[in-house]
């Protein structure tokens, strides 16, 4: 029965897409209601399955699968896997998703593409649930691509804006680069281990370790390419900030809470393939994650667009999660993913509320004093900021602490120091944002006339604020420990000991984490509590310029690599064509061409009957020649 419920959860949003596209396209309100109903129903059903799962004392509910493709001896199924990992993610996707759907009702109210917006949102929910619930690589890859297309459609929602048209293409292509690595990784694992099903793979890994170990590093890194695209890790990070061209609720749902977390989720799902003795994949993953966390935090310090600050913050936090996976800490990574979904969705929706209040102004230096104008937005935004910074006892403190503790436990001292420094930067740039936007004096006319958003937008903020506060004490960590720890007992030895390492409080990590928060807060207070403009550019000079210009990565890609490649490709293609045509092929054949051309011209009497006659004559000639022989 629970399998059937699970299928229903997956397909409800798809039904919504079909209903809207086929029937209610021209009825915006009905379309939105269908979509909102579908996601809330999916949430309620997920909750029911989840409660049953918690009561069942098993590691995973029985799998339900349907054969989809069978070719020779090879079969591919569409199957659902219901365990702590997937159920946790389902709750995030549908729960946070429900709130954001409701919020969108207010935020997108006057948009002419209202119905199309909700159809795309439902398509996204369907695809994301597919990734989360997939029990095999093929199904995951299929939904992985579908998430890519829904993100493409939503980033380019305002397609008539050239910047949105550029951004959606950039996002899709950058993701595709990662996806091809992912595809090759899947094929490699498939070729070596002979299965796609996650459970089968885990079982097969032990006897086939001899075959898998030599390719483990390569396969792991290729699979990681997929995560690098979706979770926007360096060097494929450039698409995420541009993705902010989409409507703000989309940024909250897709580009902060769920889709970008899919990469981290996938790494956790196939963690057993990465954590193989002799493989260096995890080490690389940890460092790429750490580097992304630092790079993005530094960039965020000098951004002035409220959504871009949050976007770089998201990059930085995703870097944390990826780093944690790389340090053999999937539990900590999933923990942070969950709390991050709460407070980052909250912050984005809060930013949306600010932007709504400011009539689509996004530059923080034109805001100010919004504390009084939009109190609900202010208080909830503050909660989100405190949670993201990692202030005790909000959720972010616990999850960040477990990542830092993981670093200490696995002796990644350099990454630990990096993590603490990023925590400091995080607090700094977030409070810079809060001080400039909500405190001080109004810096523009619009800020002076700002107004609070309607209830349909502020209530989701309040609910998310509550979740951001209590997220650390809800037993989320225990849920994921249940997933990763029992796995360890049954299988390879080294794997288990690493995973089972107790997450008892690591005093050094906690103490240093809090110290970083205080330092960051103090610095932000000193610099920004009363300032009318940003004092940092003067103090830091070129460094500030580099941060503001995102360390010139976008310029490097857009002005150097891409034009060079495009030019090169075009020239290459033309050169080959010309070489073939004028070179060895046609110089030989051109004689013939001329001859035949001339002959045809002679025959060209313009009358079709002549052609028909010649055709028959030609066929007869061929027959005659063949028959004579």
């Amino acid at each position: 029965m629970f399998e059937n419920l699970a299928w229903l959860i997956l397909f409800l949003p798809l039904l919504s897409v079909a209903a809207i596209t086929l029937f209610t396209r021209s009825k915006p309100r009905a379309s939105a209601q269908i979509s909102i109903f579908a996601v809330i129903a999916a949430f309620v059903l997920s909750l029911i399955v989840f409660v049953f799962f918690r009561g069942s004392e098993t590691n995973s509910l029985p799998q339900a699968s349907v054969p989809w493709l069978w070719v020779g001896d090879f079969k591919a199924d569409i199957g659902l896997r219901l365990d702590a990992l997937s159920l946790g993610m389902m709750l995030i996707v549908t729960g946070v998703g429900s709130l954001i759907h409701i919020y969108s009702w207010g935020y997108m109210k006057d948009d002419p593409g209202f119905a199309r917006y909700f159809a795309s949102l439902s398509l996204f929910t369907f695809s994301m649930l597919g990734i989360v619930m997939a029990d095999n690589f093929l199904m995951m890859f299929i939904f992985w691509e579908l998430v890519g297309i829904s993100s493409y459609l939503l980033i380019g929602f305002w397609y008539e804006k050239a910047s949105a048209a550029d951004a959606c293409k950039k996002a899709f292509l950058t993701n595709r680069i990662g996806d091809f690595g992912f595809l090759l990784g899947i094929l490699m694992v498939w070729a070596v281990l002979g299965s796609l099903n996650f459970q089968d793979l885990e079982i097969r890994l032990v006897p086939h370790m001899k075959d898998y170990a030599p390719v483990a590093t390569a396969a792991g890194l290729l699979i990681f390419c997929g995560a690098m695209g979706k979770s926007a890790q360096f060097p494929l990070h450039v698409w995420l900030p541009d993705a902010m061209e989409g409507p703000t609720p989309v940024s909250a749902l897709i580009h902060a809470a769920t889709m970008v977390a899919a990469g981290v989720y996938m790494l956790c799902r196939v963690f057993f393939l990465l954590n193989v003795p002799g493989s260096h994949a995890l080490e690389v993953i940890a460092w790429i994650g750490g580097f992304t966390a630092l790079l993005a935090a530094l960039i965020a310090v000098q951004q002035n667009d409220i959504k871009r600050i949050l976007a770089y913050s998201t990059l930085s936090q995703l870097g944390y999660m990826v780093m944690s996976v790389g340090m053999s800490g999937p539990t900590a990574a999933m923990y942070h993913l969950t709390t991050h979904a709460f407070f980052k969705a909250l912050l984005f929706l809060g930013a949306g509320s600010v932007i709504y209040a400011m009539h689509h102004e996004q530059n923080i230096w034109r805001m100010g004093a919004l504390k009084k104008k939009a109190p609900a937005t202010y208080w909830t935004f503050m909660v989100g900021t405190l949670a993201l910074s990692g202030v005790w006892p909000l959720s972010g403190f616990y999850s960040k602490d477990s990542i830092l503790a993981q670093a200490l436990e696995t002796n990644h001292i350099a990454l630990f120091v990096l993590g603490v420094f990023v925590a400091l930067l995080t607090t700094f740039y977030m409070f810079r944002l809060v001080f400039v936007v909500f405190f001080g004096g109004a810096r523009s006319e619009a800020a002076d006339h700002a107004h609070e958003s309607p209830d349909v937008m502020t209530w989701p903020l309040r609910i998310l604020a509550v979740m951001s506060i209590i997220g650390g004490v809800m037993g989320i960590e225990g849920l994921y420990t249940k997933q990763f720890a029992p796995n360890a007992e049954g299988h390879a030895a080294g794997f288990g000991q690493q995973l089972l390492a107790p997450f008892s409080h690591s005093p050094l990590a906690a103490y240093l984490g809090l110290f970083a928060v205080i330092m960051g807060l103090g610095a932000a207070y000193a610099l920004y509590s009363r300032s009318l403009f940003d004092p940092l550019p003067e103090k830091l000079g070129w460094l500030s310029r580099a941060m503001r210009n995102r360390f010139y990565f976008d310029e490097l890609y857009e002005r150097v690599i891409i034009p060079f490649t495009q030019e090169a490709l075009a020239k290459f293609a033309n050169a080959i064509d010309r070489w073939i045509i004028s070179g060895f092929m046609v110089r030989g054949a051109s004689g013939t061409t001329d001859l035949v051309g001339r002959a045809l011209r002679l025959l060209q009497t313009g009358s079709l009957q002549t052609y028909a006659f010649l055709l028959v004559a030609g066929v007869a000639l061929v027959l005659y020649l063949v028959l004579l022989r």
């Binding site: 989809w68 493709l69 069978w70 070719v71 020779g72 001896d73 090879f74 093929l138 299929i142 939904f143 691509e145 579908l146 297309i149 380019g156 397609y159 008539e160 804006k161 050239a162 949105a164 048209a165 550029d166 293409k169 899709f172 292509l173 595709r176 091809f180 595809l183 090759l184 094929l187 490699m188 498939w190 070729a191 002979g194 495009q566 490709l569 075009a570 290459f572 293609a573 033309n574 080959i576 064509d577 073939i580 045509i581 092929m585 046609v586 054949a589 013939t592 061409t593 035949v596 051309g597 045809l600 079709l608 052609y611 055709l615 066929v619 061929v622 027959l623 063949v626 028959l627 022989r629």
Partner: protein
Amino acid sequence: MNSLPILSILTIVPLIGAVMLIGLDSQSKRLARGLGLAFSLAGLALAAWLWKAFDGNSPDLQFVERHAWIPSIGAEYFVGVDGLGLLMVLLTALVTPIAMLASWRIEDKPQIYFSMMLLLQAGLFGTFTALNFFHWFIFWELSLVPAFFLIKLWGGPNRSAAATQFFVYTMVGSVAMLLSFLAIYWAVGTFDFIQLAEKGHNGDLASILNVKLGWYNLSRNQLPLIIFAGIFLGFAVKVPLIPFHTWLPMTYAEAPTGTTMMLTGVMSKMGVYGFIRILMPLFPEQMRMILTPLLWLAVATIVFSACAAFAQKDLKRVFAYSSINHLGYCMLGIFAFVKFTGSEPPWSTEKAAVLNGVMLQMFNHGLTAPILFCFIGFLEQRSGGLRGLDQFGGLRKVAPVFCGLMGVSIFASLGLPGLNGFIGEFLIFKGAFPLVTWATALSVIGLLVTAIFLLTVIQRVFNGPLNGKWASLADLSWRERLIVLPATALMFLVGIYPQLLIGKINTTVMQMVDQLKF
């Protein structure tokens, strides 16, 4: 089933239509169009019946008809279909009526145009069902002739040059193929594909060729290789494989929309079909001998044509190169398939995947590419012949249905899961990766570049600010929607439920895997 010569009827019906239409006087244009469509729909109905009656679990040839024709030279009338032939017959039957509907507005001698289309269809049906070289080759050439006239008489400004180029290239290929087959006939004494295939499988063919034709001091390997090369040339031009492709972009760009649809949808499959039906069974040894260069050719075809598509400014040429790219995956799959692997079971699974993938790719490309050209045709009608990549912009605002439906086809072509294109490419990559790892990995570049230029098309034509020139561009009419909607539905259907096709071809594929296992 033997009582009704269904395959002969299938081929003769469009021929009757063609003859009837030629006889019409030039004033009855509506009647000509109606009759043309009716005959092509009759073909579709027959093909659908054939599809239903075909037993997907039997590896045997079905609906076989065999009659002695000219016994003295071994020329038999011998037709029949297996899964591959069936799939191609269905594809031909599907594409022809859509191509005719897309040509509805042709005012210049429509009766001749539609007659030529039917003649082309008959040639294609014949090619995909014939199992004796003698009349197979007649049909092969028969399809070439109407295509030539369709381009030459109804094409764009450069139609004469394009038609000549098309004709010369394919004719050179055909002549080479004919010479090779005459050599084979001299040596073996049969034109029968099935008998020849048996001799090819057990390696007899090469030695018979050597014994009977020990010419010019050629070594044991060289002579069969030369004969192989002749047939290879015929098919490679048709597919086309780089460097035999230069006729294609101009031909596709100059041909009228409906003809381009037939060229890309079905005629380009003749080459791939030839590889699977003739080259692969007859000359596996020879293909293995030059496998590495062949793989390089396939990779070059995939990567280069994608890059070339990216460099084009004319939408028709963009999709012409894209078409070469998609067939490149078929070539990669076929070459991976013939690789010698011995008979261990894991390899046969990979080979089954790869060949199923190739056939699905043939069908899927045959469905998607014509529809894309059809959309470009719609656009040309509205823009007065303009079809430059940079001449539009923001069309989504005025023509949302057009952009939405064409968008579906573009994403199908890009290989998005849930649509038809994904499944074939995925199976090819799945099977080819363990067989020919480096070539497959390099081919991934082609997938990426394809995504780049297809998204560029969407970005430049559909998105961005609306180009004021097209502010009153009409969206698709109901008639136009009816042309493309069934095909779009089929793209979804195959993408979601690929077993629909695989169920009919898998047994044939397994048999081919079995025959090449030595």
